[in-house]
C-alpha cells in the first residue's frame, strides 16, 4: 500500500466516522429534544477534519520517485471524479433549496446556509476523491492478479 492509498484510507475513515456519528447524534437528539436543536449533532462532522492530517502522519517515501505515471493518472481521475460529484451536489443543493423555498413562498434564507452548502460540497469532493483512489487501485490490482502471465 503506497502513501496515497494510506492517506485515502484515513480520509475515508475520518469522513465516514464523522457522518455515522453525526447521523446517530441527530437521531438521538431528535428523540430527546427534537428539531431544531437536534441539528447540533452535525458538530461531529468536525472529526472529518482529522483526515487533513494524513500528509503529516504518512511521511513521504525516502526514494527520489514519489509517484509513477500510473499513480498520477489515478490521482487525476480521482480528482476529476471528486469535483464532478461535488459540482453535482452543490448544484442539486442550490437548485433544490431555491425550488423548495419558492414553493413555500419564502423569499429570504439565513446566511448560515452558505457555509453549510460549501461544506457539503467540499466534504463530498474529498470523500469521493479518496474513495475513487481506493477503488481504482483495487481495480488495477485485480487486473494484475487475473491478467495473462
Amino acid at each position: 500500500m503506497n502513501r496515497m492509498q494510506k492517506m485515502s484510507w484515513m480520509m475515508v475513515i475520518c469522513i465516514g466516522t464523522a457522518l455515522i456519528l453525526s447521523a446517530m447524534a441527530i437521531t438521538i437528539l431528535y428523540f430527546k429534544i427534537g428539531f431544531p436543536r437536534a441539528w447540533a449533532g452535525w458538530s461531529f462532522m468536525g472529526i472529518a477534519g482529522f483526515g487533513g492530517l494524513a500528509p503529516l502522519i504518512f511521511k513521504k517515501d525516502p526514494g527520489p520517485i514519489q509517484a509513477d505515471e500510473r499513480d498520477q493518472l489515478i490521482n487525476l481521475k480521482a480528482a476529476r471524479a471528486g469535483f464532478a460529484i461535488s459540482y453535482g451536489v452543490f448544484g442539486l443543493l442550490c437548485m433544490g433549496i431555491w425550488e423548495y423555498y419558492r414553493h413555500q413562498n419564502i423569499e429570504t434564507i439565513s446566511i448560515h446556509l452558505l457555509p453549510q452548502l460549501f461544506m457539503a460540497a467540499g466534504i463530498t469532493a474529498f470523500f469521493t476523491h479518496a474513495l475513487t483512489i481506493l477503488v481504482l487501485y483495487g481495480k488495477d490490482n485485480k487486473q494484475i492478479e487475473g491478467g495473462p502471465a
Partner: protein, 230 residues
C-alpha cells in the same frame, strides 16, 4: 420515416408518440377531477407529454448529429486543426448556451413566482430535464463515435485547464461567502435567488478560466509551428 434508419430510434419515436397521445387522451378524464388544472392529473399529463417530446427530440438530435459528424470527419482528416483551440471554443460555446438557457429559465421562474403563474413551471421543469438528458445523450454518443484525437501533451493541458477551472470555482465560492458575511453580518438574511445565481456565475467563471487557459496554450502552439525548425 424513411430518413430514420435505426430500429431503436424508430421504436423510441413510436413510444414517444404513443405517450403523447395517451397524455392527450387523459385530458377529458382529468377534467372530471377536482381543482383542475392544479391536480395530479395535470402533472401526469404534462410529464407524459414532455417525456414523449424529449424522446422525439433526442432521436432527431442524434440523427442530425450523426449526419454532421460523418461530413465533418471526412474534411478533418486532411486538414491540420489546432485541437486545443477547437476544444476551447466548443466548450466555451456550450457553456454560453447553457448559461443563457439556465439564466432564462431562472429568470422566468422568478417572474412566474412573482406574477402568480406557477403552473407554467410544471410544464417547463420537465422540458428542461428532458432537453438536458437528450443533450447529454447526444454529447456522449458523439464522443463515442468520434473520440477526440488529443496527444499526451494536449490531454495533460486539458486536465490542467479543468483543474484550474475547479480551483477558481472553489476560490470564487469562498470569496462570495466571506463577502456575504462581511456585508450582511452573521445574523442576516439573503434572498433565495442568490443560490442559483452563485451556481451559474461560478460555473461560468470556471468555464471561462478553462477557455482562457486552453486558448493561451493554443496560441503558444501556433507560435511554435510558425517559428519552429523547417
Amino acid at each position: 420515416m424513411n430518413f430514420i434508419k435505426g430500429k431503436k430510434q424508430r421504436i423510441v419515436i413510436a413510444v414517444s408518440v404513443a405517450i403523447i397521445l395517451c397524455g392527450f387522451a387523459m385530458i377529458p378524464l382529468s377534467r372530471k377531477a377536482d381543482d383542475f388544472p392544479h391536480d395530479i392529473w395535470t402533472h401526469l399529463i404534462t410529464l407524459m407529454t414532455m417525456a414523449g417530446g424529449g424522446g422525439i427530440g433526442a432521436v432527431i438530435s442524434l440523427h442530425i448529429m450523426s449526419r454532421r459528424s460523418k461530413q465533418k470527419f471526412n474534411t478533418r482528416q486532411d486538414s491540420q486543426i489546432n485541437q486545443l483551440r477547437k476544444k476551447a471554443r466548443e466548450d466555451f460555446l456550450a457553456l454560453c448556451a447553457m448559461s443563457v438557457v439556465g439564466l432564462s429559465f431562472f429568470g422566468f421562474a422568478t417572474y412566474a413566482n412573482m406574477s402568480g403563474v406557477k403552473y407554467l413551471l410544471f410544464g417547463l421543469c420537465p422540458v428542461c430535464v428532458m432537453v438536458a438528458l437528450a443533450a447529454f445523450g447526444v454529447f456522449k454518443e458523439q464522443e463515442k463515435r468520434n473520440p477526440p484525437l488529443f496527444d499526451e501533451r494536449e490531454f495533460y493541458l486539458i486536465q490542467r485547464a479543468i483543474h484550474w477551472g475547479n480551483n477558481c470555482f472553489m476560490a470564487y465560492a469562498v470569496l462570495a461567502m466571506v463577502t456575504a458575511f462581511n456585508l450582511i453580518g452573521g445574523r442576516g438574511m439573503i434572498p433565495v435567488w442568490t443560490l442559483p445565481l452563485a451556481l451559474f456565475s461560478g460555473l461560468f467563471l470556471a468555464g471561462t478560466v478553462q477557455f482562457i487557459f486552453l486558448m493561451h496554450h493554443a496560441k503558444q502552439d501556433d507560435k511554435q509551428t510558425e517559428g519552429g525548425p523547417a
